[in-house]
C-alpha cells in the first residue's frame, strides 16, 4: 500500500476521464455527421492504454490498431488536434489524411493507428529491431486486439522478436470480442497469453479494468524488457462497452445488455474514483473540478476542430512520395 500511494493515481484518473469524455463527445459528433467513416471507441478499456503508456518512457515507441483515441491521448497528443483529425481537418494530427483509425504523431513517437487487423504487429517488431541495431535503449509498445492473435502477422512478428531478442512489449487488449465474435469462437486457446509460448516468449496477465494493476505490472515489464532486451507478451483482460464501431450495435446477436451492465460494475474510472474518495486522497469537490476542466478541454477541442479549415486540395498529392 505504501508503494501504491506514490503512484500518480490522480493523473491516471484525469487521463482516463479525459479519454472517456472525449469519446462520448466524439460519439455525439459522429451522430451529427461531423465525424465519418469508421470510428471505434475505447470506452471501458481506458485503463490499459493509460496504465501502460504511463509506465513507458516518453520516447518509447507506440504502435496500435484502429481503436486508437485512448492511446493517442494517453501519450499526450493534443486533444484538439486529435478531434480535428476525427473531423478530417487540416489541423488534425495526421493533417486530416488519416481520420479516426490513423492517428500519428512523429514528435511523440506515436507511430500510428492501423486498420488492417494484425498488420501493424510486425512494424513494432521492426522498431524493436531498429533499437537493437542502433544500440538504443528505447522500447516499442505494441497494442492489438485478441482478434489478431490467430493471424499469421502476429505469429511471424513474435517469432522474429523472440529469435532476435528485440525490445518489444506486445500488449493484447483482450476485450473478449472481435466485432461480433467472442474469443472462444475465434481462438483455439482460451488463455490468449499462451500464444506467446509457441515463441518461447515470457508472458503476463494484467487486469485491464484496473489501472493500478496495469501500471505496476507494466512498469516492471517495460523496465525488464529495456534491460534484458527480450520481448514480453502481456494479455490485458478488458471489456468494450460500445459497439465494435459507431456503425455496429452495442449488443444483439453476440452479447446481451445484461452482460455489458455486469461488466460496467468493474468500470476502471468509477472504481479508481471511489477508491481515491474513500482513501480521502481526493475530495468530491476536486472530482467535480476535474470533470469541469476536462469538459472545457473537450468543448474547446470540438470548437477548434469545427473552426479549422479542410485540408487544401494540394494535400491530395502532397504526401504520396517523399521528395
Amino acid at each position: 500500500m505504501t508503494s501504491k500511494q506514490k503512484l500518480p493515481l490522480l493523473e491516471f484518473l484525469r487521463q482516463m476521464t479525459l479519454i472517456r469524455r472525449f469519446e462520448e463527445k466524439a460519439a455525439e459528433m459522429y451522430a451529427l455527421g461531423k465525424i465519418a467513416g469508421f470510428c471505434h471507441l475505447y470506452i471501458g478499456e481506458e485503463a490499459v492504454a493509460v496504465g501502460s503508456i504511463a509506465a513507458a518512457n516518453p520516447d518509447d515507441y507506440i504502435v496500435t490498431a484502429y481503436r486508437d483515441h485512448g492511446h493517442a491521448l494517453a501519450r499526450g497528443l493534443e486533444p484538439k488536434r486529435v478531434m480535428a483529425e476525427l473531423f478530417g481537418k487540416a489541423t488534425g494530427v495526421s493533417k486530416g489524411m488519416g481520420g479516426s483509425m490513423h492517428l500519428f504523431d512523429a514528435s511523440r513517437n506515436f507511430m500510428g493507428g492501423y486498420a488492417i487487423v494484425g498488420g501493424h504487429i510486425p512494424l513494432a517488431t521492426g522498431i524493436g529491431f531498429a533499437m537493437k541495431y542502433q544500440k538504443k535503449d528505447q522500447v516499442a509498445l505494441c497494442f492489438f486486439g485478441e482478434g489478431s492473435v490467430p493471424s499469421g502477422n502476429f505469429h511471424e512478428a513474435l517469432n522474429l522478436a523472440s529469435l532476435w531478442r528485440l525490445p518489444v512489449v506486445y500488449i493484447c487488449e483482450n476485450n473478449r470480442f472481435g466485432m461480433g465474435t467472442p474469443v472462444e469462437r475465434s481462438s483455439a486457446i482460451y488463455d490468449i497469453a499462451h500464444a506467446a509460448r509457441a515463441h518461447d516468449m515470457p508472458f503476463h496477465h494484467v487486469d485491464g479494468m484496473d489501472v493500478i494493476d496495469v501500471y505496476t505490472q507494466m512498469k516492471e515489464i517495460i523496465d525488464g524488457v529495456r534491460s534484458s532486451k527480450r520481448p514480453i507478451f502481456v494479455e490485458a483482460r478488458t471489456y468494450r462497452y460500445m459497439g465494435h464501431s459507431m456503425s455496429d450495435p452495442a449488443h444483439g446477436h453476440y452479447r446481451t445488455k445484461a452482460e455489458i451492465d455486469e461488466q460496467k460494475k468493474r468500470d476502471p474510472i468509477s472504481t479508481l474514483q471511489k477508491r481515491l474518495l474513500e482513501a480521502k486522497e481526493i475530495t468530491p469537490e476536486e472530482v467535480a473540478k476535474m470533470e469541469r476542466e476536462i469538459q472545457d478541454i473537450v468543448l474547446e477541442s470540438v470548437e477548434f476542430a469545427d473552426k479549422s479549415p479542410e485540408p487544401p486540395l494540394s494535400a491530395l498529392t502532397e504526401y504520396v512520395y517523399s521528395p
Binding site: 465519418a36 467513416g37 469508421f38 478530417g88 481537418k89 487540416a90 495526421s94 486530416g96 489524411m97 488519416g98 481520420g99 483509425m101 490513423h102 492501423y114 486498420a115 488492417i116 487487423v117 494484425g118 498488420g119 482478434g147 489478431s148 490467430p150 493471424s151 499469421g152 502477422n153 472481435g178 466485432m179 461480433g180 465474435t181 469462437r185 475465434s186 481462438s187 446477436h253 453476440y254 479542410e310 485540408p311 486540395l313 494535400a315 491530395l316 498529392t317 504520396v320
Partner: protein
C-alpha cells in the same frame, strides 16, 4: 419479377446454390451468428447450420487457403472477404495456389472456389479501407473476375460463379448493397464473360462496372438533357472481357469513355482501352478517355476523398472532351 436489394440477390444466389448442391458452403468473418458484416448472409446459418455457414477467425490467408484445399478434393467453397482490402492478406493463396494449381498439375486438379465481398470506397473509410483492387486480380491468368452492378446481375453471375470449375473473384460494393432492382423469379444464371448494354445511345459509349455503372447512368441522364445520347455498357465480367459487345457499341458511337474507381496506373480501363484501340482504331473519332480515381491513397478528409474519386462531373467532362465540345 421480384423487386429486391442487391444484398438480398447475393444471399438468394448463395442459398439457392447451397440447396441445389450440398458441396457448396460459405466461410468468412461474421457470416454466421452476426448474419454477415453487411447482412448478405442473413438467415443462412439458421437454414444451413454451422457446418455450411462457417464463422472464421480473422485469418484471411488461412481460411482462403483452407477453402482452396477443400476445393481440390471436391467441395465448392464460397469465401466471403469482409472487404476486399483484407483479401490482400490472402493474395498469396489466391494467386500462388488457386490460380496456379490447375496449370501446375497439368489439369489434374480444379479449384472451384468463389472469393466474394465488397470492394472500393464507401464513406470516408480512409486509405486502408477504400481500395478498388480489381485490376490486381484481373492481372492473373487462372482467375475469373466479375463485378455486377445491379441485383439481377449479382444473383445470376454469382450463381454462375458458384457453378464454375475455376476460381472466381466477385467484386461487390458497400454502396450497392442497399440498391433495389428487379430480379427474375426462379432459377436463372447470367453467363460469365457476357457484357450488357444498360442504356442505348448513339453519341458516345460509356463503359463502367459495379458502383461506377450507376454513376455513368446518372451522367448519361444529365448528358441527355444537353442533347448528348450516351450508350452505357456494363462489362459485368472483367476477366474474360466481352469485347464483342463493347466493340459493337463503339462501332456505333465512334467514341468511348471508360470509367473505373481504381487507380489509373495499369487499370482495367487501360486494358479495355488498349483492346478497343487495337481492334478498332479506324472507327474511333477521338482518343479514348479514361476517368479513374486519382493516383493517390484515398484520404479521409471529405473534400479530399471527393476529389480523389470519379464523379458525374468528371464523367461529363470526359464525354465532352471525347466529343470535342471542351
Amino acid at each position: 419479377m421480384a423487386h429486391i436489394a442487391y444484398r438480398e440477390a447475393l444471399g438468394q444466389a448463395m442459398s439457392e446454390e447451397m440447396r441445389r448442391d450440398d458441396k457448396v458452403f460459405l466461410m468468412g468473418e461474421e457470416v454466421g451468428f452476426y448474419q454477415g458484416a453487411f447482412k448478405v448472409s442473413r438467415g443462412m446459418l439458421e437454414e444451413f447450420g454451422p457446418m455450411r455457414v462457417i464463422d472464421t477467425p480473422i485469418t484471411e490467408a488461412g481460411f482462403t487457403g483452407a477453402g482452396i484445399g477443400a476445393a481440390m478434393v471436391g467441395l465448392r467453397p464460397i469465401i466471403e472477404m469482409m472487404t476486399f482490402n483484407f483479401s490482400i492478406l490472402a493474395m498469396d493463396q489466391i494467386i500462388n495456389n488457386a490460380a496456379k494449381i490447375r496449370s501446375m498439375s497439368g489439369g489434374q486438379f480444379k479449384v472451384p472456389i468463389v472469393v466474394r465481398g465488397p470492394g472500393g470506397s464507401a464513406a470516408r473509410l480512409a486509405a486502408q479501407h477504400s481500395q478498388s483492387l480489381e485490376s490486381l486480380y484481373c492481372h492473373i491468368a487462372g482467375l475469373k473476375v466479375i463485378a455486377p452492378s445491379v441485383p439481377k446481375d449479382a444473383k445470376g453471375l454469382l450463381k454462375s460463379a458458384i457453378r464454375d470449375d475455376n476460381p472466381v473473384i466477385c467484386f461487390e460494393a458497400q454502396a450497392l448493397y442497399g440498391t433495389m432492382g428487379d430480379v427474375p423469379e426462379g432459377d436463372y444464371t447470367i453467363p460469365i464473360g457476357a457484357a450488357d448494354v444498360k442504356r442505348e445511345g448513339r453519341d458516345v459509349t460509356l463503359i463502367a462496372w459495379s458502383k461506377m455503372l450507376l454513376l455513368c447512368l446518372r451522367a448519361a441522364e444529365q448528358l441527355a438533357q444537353q442533347g448528348i445520347e450516351a450508350e452505357v455498357v456494363d462489362p459485368r465480367t472483367l476477366r474474360p472481357l466481352d469485347m464483342e459487345t463493347i466493340l459493337n457499341s463503339v462501332r456505333k458511337t465512334h467514341r468511348a469513355v471508360i470509367v473505373e474507381e481504381a487507380w489509373p496506373y495499369g487499370g482495367v480501363s487501360a486494358e479495355i482501352s488498349d483492346r478497343i484501340t487495337h481492334e478498332a482504331l479506324d472507327i474511333l473519332d477521338a482518343p479514348i478517355e479514361r476517368v479513374t480515381g486519382e493516383d493517390v491513397p484515398i484520404p479521409y478528409a471529405k473534400n479530399l476523398e471527393q476529389a480523389a474519386l470519379p464523379s458525374t462531373e468528371k464523367i461529363i467532362h470526359a464525354v465532352k472532351k471525347a466529343m470535342y465540345l471542351e
